[in-house]
Each structure stands twice: as structure tokens, then as C-alpha cells.
């Protein structure tokens, strides 16, 4: 069921890894994987008001060979599942997956006794790194998810976490 585990490179430099990590974190190229309503929020995040370009992530590539992160935004139906698996395979390392929205996290509102076509969560077959809850999550939530992913890659956050006062 799960994918293979990540294979380390032949030569490993820790400082170089840190530098490459900063580079990768600041230029995460997402794949246009909007399946449903969360795609609209993803598009809004890429537009001018909630600019995703400030974080280096405005370049949504349609081809999986050129992207780092797959933002699974929307409901995953059983018919779409083989396509997602193929596209995940075709992404080169290093790659990450963000599950955006309730449908991608756990099936969302489509989990009921008679469910016949929705896969209940992207993590049923993909290794998800970041979960962004919401139905749909606001663009600020998606930006927070990208920042969390950056923290996961580099180990430090770009902006401090905002605590509710």
C-alpha cells in the first residue's frame, strides 16, 4: 500500500543540505492538483491579494516532472486515484505532499454509510507531509501550510507563529 521509503544520496554534506534546504524551502513549486472546491482557494492564494509568490511558490507547474510539492486540493474519487498515484511517481525527489481541505485529509463530508466513490483521505495511499484542515481552508491557512512545510524542510520558521491573544 505505501510507497517505497526515501533513498539517501551517495554523498552527504550536512552544510550543503542546510543550504539546499533553504533553497528548496523558498522555492517550492506546487503542482496544479486542484480537484474540487479547494482548488478555488488555491487559485485565490496564488492570485494577487493573498500572494503566494512572496514565498516562492507561485509557479504552479502542470507537469509533475518540474514540481516539488503536490497540493492535493479537493475530493479524491476512486476514479482519480490511479492518476494521482501515477503523478506522484513521476515527481522527482525531493517531493512533499500537502493534503488541503477536509476531503483530502479524511474524506470530508463524503464519509457516510453508503459511500461508494470517494477515497477517505489522501493518506490512504500517499505519504502526506502537511495537513491543512478546512472546508475549504482560507488562503491564509494554505499559506500557513506552506510555511509549516518550509519549517519541516529547514527546521526554522520564516515568520513567528501568531498566538491568539
Amino acid at each position: 500500500m505505501g510507497p517505497e521509503s526515501i533513498q539517501p544520496p551517495i554523498v552527504h554534506f550536512s552544510t550543503l543540505d542546510k543550504i539546499l534546504g533553504i533553497g528548496r524551502a523558498n522555492s517550492l513549486w506546487p503542482m496544479t492538483f486542484g480537484l474540487a472546491c479547494c482548488a478555488i482557494e488555491m487559485m485565490a492564494t496564488g492570485a494577487s491579494r493573498f500572494d503566494l509568490a512572496r514565498f516562492g511558490a507561485e509557479v504552479f507547474r502542470p507537469s509533475p516532472r518540474q514540481c516539488d510539492v503536490m497540493i492535493v486540493a479537493g475530493t479524491i474519487s476512486k476514479k482519480m486515484e490511479p492518476a494521482i498515484k501515477t503523478l506522484y511517481d513521476q515527481m522527482p525527489e525531493p517531493k512533499w505532499v500537502i493534503a488541503m481541505g477536509n476531503c483530502a485529509i479524511s474524506g470530508g463530508p463524503f464519509v457516510f454509510d453508503g459511500n461508494y466513490c470517494v477515497i477517505e483521505g489522501a493518506d490512504k495511499f500517499l505519504p502526506v507531509d502537511i495537513y491543512i484542515p478546512g472546508c475549504p481552508p482560507r488562503p491564509e491557512a494554505l499559506i500557513e501550510g506552506i510555511l509549516e512545510l518550509e519549517e519541516k524542510i529547514t527546521g526554522s520558521r520564516r515568520w513567528p507563529r501568531v498566538e491568539p491573544s
Binding site: S77, K78, K79, D113, G114, N115, Y116, C117
Partner: protein, 174 residues
């Protein structure tokens, strides 16, 4: 003009019923109830008048006896009456295939309905007249199990390719 043309041409086919409906109430101008083998001829009438196909869908009438009893009561209450149920009052449940058509230039919307037995739902395909009906009929087959005779490729459109269940039937259980 188009409406009267359509009505005249349809009347020539002798369908089960033609009903003028109130557009403000129902959303369409004409409701034509046909037998399953008259569907292609009725659709060709509309094709000659340059109508476009909007949708093909199915209705699962599992409890037709109740529906048949309700309809005459409703007719006296409101205008834009439901079309009368087909004359052969079989107690077996039926399915109805609904075709929606509209005309782009003048506002005219027509609905064609055909009732088929639920145990063996088969109806001739209209994809020879309207090639766009190809996918609509695939979807209707997917969700109701209605077989369209003469359809080039009746494989599932929205469900997985190996699905053998029909979810929108009223007695569907996973």
C-alpha cells in the same frame, strides 16, 4: 412559432401525451411523453428545429403506484399539470428517461420523457442524432443501469471502470 412547429411535428408522431406547461412554474414549455421506441423519432423532430440537447437523465420510480395515485389529485390543484401516467397501468415499477432540450435563439425548452420497465431497462440510443448524448447516456447507464441499445461504447463515465453497481437507484445499498 418554433413551439407550434414542434407541437405539430410531435403530434404527427402520436406520442402518449403532449402537454403545454407553464414556463414560469416548470422551467420548460412543452412536455412530451413518448413510448420508448418513439424516442428517436421525437428527437429527430427537435433536431430539425435546431434544438440543442441539455441533459439526459433517469428517474427511478420504484413506487409507481403511489405516484400514479398522487398525480390525478395534483392535476386539479395547479396549472401546468404533470403529464398523465402512461395508459398501461402495470403495477410493476418503472424507470423514466428524461431528455431536456432547449433552443438557443428563441426561448423554448422541451422535455421528452419515456417510461421503461425497471426490471429490464432498455431504450434506443439517441447518440446517432445528437452525438453529445454519448456521454450523457454513459452517465445514465452508470447511475441507473439503463441500457441504451445501439450505443457505441457504454462503459462507465464517472464510476470506476469495473463498477457493477448503480448508485442512484432508490434501493441501492453499498
Amino acid at each position: 412559432m418554433i413551439l407550434s412547429n414542434v407541437k405539430n411535428s410531435m403530434a404527427a408522431l402520436e406520442p402518449i401525451a403532449i402537454t403545454d406547461t407553464d414556463y414560469a412554474a416548470k422551467g420548460f414549455h412543452l412536455d412530451v411523453q413518448v413510448a420508448p421506441d418513439q424516442v428517436v423519432a421525437a428527437v429527430e423532430v427537435l433536431n430539425k428545429e435546431a434544438f440543442t440537447l441539455e441533459a439526459v437523465t433517469g428517474v427511478d420510480l420504484l413506487t409507481i403506484d403511489k405516484a400514479a395515485k398522487k398525480k390525478p389529485a395534483k392535476k386539479t390543484e395547479e396549472e401546468g399539470a404533470e403529464p398523465p401516467p402512461p395508459p398501461e397501468k402495470k403495477p410493476e415499477p418503472q424507470m423514466e428517461v428524461v431528455y431536456d432540450f432547449s433552443h438557443w435563439d428563441t426561448l423554448c425548452r422541451v422535455v421528452i420523457r419515456a417510461r421503461i420497465p425497471r426490471d429490464n431497462p432498455e431504450i434506443p440510443t439517441i447518440s446517432g442524432v445528437f452525438p453529445g448524448a454519448n456521454w450523457h447516456e454513459r452517465e445514465t447507464h452508470d447511475f441507473f443501469g439503463i441500457k441504451f441499445i445501439g450505443h457505441p461504447d457504454l462503459k462507465p463515465l464517472l464510476l470506476p471502470e469495473d463498477a457493477d453497481y448503480h448508485p442512484l437507484l432508490k434501493d441501492f445499498k453499498v
